[in-house]
Amino acid sequence: MNSSLLAALSRIVGRQWVRHRRAELVTYAMDGLPTHESLPGVVVIPGSPEQVREIIRLLHVVRVPFVARGAGTGLSGGALADPDAVLIALTRLNRILRVDPLQRRAVVQPGVVNARLSEAVLPFGLHYVPDPSSQAACTVGGNVAENAGGPHCLKYGVTTNHIVALEVALPDGSSIRLGSLHGEPWGPDLVGLFVGSEGMFGIATEITVRLERIPQSVRTMLADFSTVRAASEAVSSIIAAGIVPAALEMMDRACVAAVEASIYAAGYPTDAAAVLLVELDGQSDAVEAETALVRDILTERGARAVRTASTPADRARLWQGRKKAFGAMGRIAPDLAVQDAVVPRSALPAIMDQIDGIRLEYGLTISNVFHAGDGNLHPNISFDRRDSAVIARVRSACRDIMAACVAVGGSITGEHGVGNDKLDYMPWIFDAETLGAMRAVRRAFDPTELANPGKVVPVHACREWTAVKSTRTPTLRSGHS
């Protein structure tokens, strides 16, 4: 990065918030998926939305690309910046600006930590529903960029269902407001378009979220099975019975072993092939009735034991084990490749068998922890990168798993986003025309492609789609389904 740019950035945010020395940059070279690494040109940590806009205006003038970053817990390499780009860390913008308990809305800055928001509105009997496993650390801004999910999104929907309005700094530094506090605005759903755009359309500087009442009654059940297949079939049976649990999560034996060795040990049976966590919530009577029904289904499907958490502390313990599972993988090996794919729920039993086959074929350790209720898989491959031979096997296994998921009608990401980790897979599920349309939408927001360049829509293949791009009126058409 040239010194005049550093000076200009320093004038905006103050010298102490501009990081450019190597030791400073290496700490920002990875997100939660350390299989990808890239040293940013410079890191800048603005202290106000106005500073964010000023930075972007400056970068737009000098045509330098930028990438936004929250807490760096993302799992697709989406918050990595190349050496020619500026990384804008939004962690200082961490204020909850307003809470309106009557309208059930909160207005927050993008650096607010997800779990802090729920804590702050707890006194009003409210919470912010989307609860990614990293919620203790991840930021609402990052959740918006990735359209983050979480265990409780099965019943309540993902991030996009909980964002009502946004203030956005566009890639030229101008500011717009999308959505409205109450009800739907006129015209196209631009909030829906922005949420999940992975930093391609600008930076959300103010986020208005929907809050929900904390349910009157909650039951959490733990069931364990002697085969993964039986557990998968139980999942399908529960949904087929017309029940929509608040959450329906699965962990396999390897994953349970890692969790039970950690300080988040939740008392999962370590000899089970798979455990299911089922949470039901709502009005007391309904929850009681559904609990009985689910218990019957689980037993019928071969659960060895079904345990119901009786106290909030028990429930919290069961959930802590699940939510910290990914972080506990360091107990298996020092490196981790987290995958994220979706399959139709009916394909779960078969795909679990296939993943096990891939594990045997490559001689790897794969543990599975995932949102079974919506078919969102997270196979975790544990390895040690100091063994150079293993890296190629890990890569191939990742590809094979993804290919298997796509082959049964699935998708390449459920909630982690495409980032740069899954760029190569995009043409598997979208045809050239569709990718061209995506690129055209991107250019509508960002004609010079300065915002998070090179991510999400594979650029290198775009040359083939110039014809589509030039029309500027592409038809959105899914390539796969």
Binding site: R22, A23, S134, F326, G327, M329, G330
Partner: protein
């Protein structure tokens, strides 16, 4: 996995779950000031990709408080503290200590030196000048720290309040009960050697006295053993392992095999004494380390015996080296709950570092003060406002005490054992027969 001194860092998968537990990350919002960021730097140091002379790297690693608040939240059980030790030793060997750190640590190396320094400090404290001069500026904050080390003056006031309220202490225990207890006790009570330390021995002699008295009431025989040195924790945290080892060896020599337990009332010292086996590496040091207990642990094991009521609001603040390094959580609370009528609060962030961190607050006052700010704000916002904050570590007592003085809050800080001692005194446990 590597087997070197950095092996404890191997399980880090970069998930970032440690970020919200790190005091320096919380005040800077900067990844380099987070455990995960520092692990990246330590790994680079280990692999030789970055040098110990890299100014930015040194700044980030030096700015770590060493509170180890990241360890209990890590799902993979990363041994951050062990990694930091290794990194600081490597940094020290490559670039040496700063002149300020060298002179501070030098003082603690020799008994005659620290004794003179603290004797002077005690003299200054006795003039009440530090109390009058305490305030927000750097010098005045230092004065506040010294003032905060004094025995709480409110002892008298609270005793009066308690007597005025009409609750009689002797209902709960009197010296007759004590005498009866003692006759029932087996012939040889467990012996306890009091670890005297440096700061504790001179500036906190009242805490030592309270420790002795409360332990004796609970059936321990307390021994005073000569030839003890500073524990070496300050040296160890700075990467000066050679000095730490020399001091530790002297303490092993002075204490080993002489009592059933070694009791420590300073969390920072206790954490290192419990780690002497690792530091010194001899069988005697391991045996000694296994006999080390925080004063709250010994007291909690015996209940402890309840004393007279104290009608006060008390906020407990957990020292990092007690909760994270020694993993002692419940014992201090049990000790405080044994005091009738005392209303105990755990403020938000009571498990977060206060910024004292040994000599950190002297070497890096700005960051230390920033870390302290949220704690002071929590005390200020507390309802009801506590009369007293209690914490079992001298650095924390002085840091929080000075912070409260600087913010002009009428809240004092003490060691939890002082309150139990006051409760015992009011109960008449210390009155000698025939007096």
């Amino acid at each position: 996995m590597s087997s070197g001194p950095y092996a404890a860092l191997d399980p880090c998968v970069h998930c970032g779950f440690c970020l919200p537990a790190c005091p320096t990350y919380l005040v800077t919002a900067d990844e380099g000031h987070s455990p995960r960021g520092r692990i990246v730097l330590m790994r680079a140091l280990e692999r030789g990709e970055m040098s110990g002379h890299d100014a930015a790297l040194v700044e980030y690693l030096d700015a770590c408080l060493g509170c180890r608040g990241c360890e209990p939240v890590c799902p993979s059980g990363v041994g951050y503290g062990r990694g930091l030790e290794a990194a600081r030793e490597q940094l020290l060997s490559q670039r040496g200590l700063s002149p300020l750190a060298r002179s501070v640590l030098g003082v603690f190396r020799y008994r005659a030196l620290w004794r003179s320094v603290f004797a002077l400090a005690r003299g200054l404290r006795a003039t009440r000048l530090p109390s009058l001069l305490s305030g927000p500026g750097r010098m005045r904050f230092g004065m506040g720290m010294l003032a905060a080390s004094a025995e709480m003056r409110e002892r008298v006031e609270w005793s009066a309040r308690q007597r005025g309220s009409g609750t009689a202490g002797h209902e709960l225990g009197s010296r007759d009960d004590l005498a009866a207890d003692q006759t029932r006790r087996p012939a040889a009570p467990p012996t306890v050697a009091l670890f005297r330390g440096c700061v504790m021995d001179l500036l906190f002699s009242h805490v030592h006295a309270a420790t002795r008295r409360t332990l004796e009431v609970n059936g321990y025989r307390v021994l005073d053993l000569p030839d003890q040195m500073c524990c070496g924790a300050l040296h160890e945290h700075a990467g000066d392992r050679e000095s730490a080892r020399a001091l530790a060896s002297a303490n092993v020599e002075a204490l080993a095999g002489r009592a059933d337990f070694v009791v420590v009332n300073s969390a920072g010292c206790g954490a290192l004494l419990k780690d002497y086996g690792h530091l010194v590496g001899t069988p005697e040091s391991s045996t000694l380390a296994a006999s080390v207990r925080d004063v709250s642990e010994l007291l909690a094991e015996k209940g402890p015996r309840p004393g007279a009521p104290l009608d006060i609001d008390v906020a407990y603040d957990a020292p990092c080296h007690l909760q994270h390094a020694q993993r002692v959580h419940e014992a201090p609370l049990a000790m405080l709950r044994a005091i009738p009528a005392l209303r105990l609060q755990l403020l938000p962030g009571s498990d977060r570092c206060c910024g004292s961190a040994g000599i950190y607050s002297v070497l890096r006052p700005r960051m230390a003060r920033k870390v302290l700010e949220s704690k002071i704000a929590d005390v200020e916002a507390a309802s009801p406002r506590p009369d007293l904050v209690v914490t079992g570590n001298p650095g924390c007592i002085m840091q929080i005490g000075a912070g409260l003085r600087a913010a002009k809050l009428p809240v004092r800080v003490a060691h939890p054992v002082e309150l139990l001692d006051l409760s015992y005194q009011n109960a008449g446990f210390y009155e000698v027969k025939g007096e």
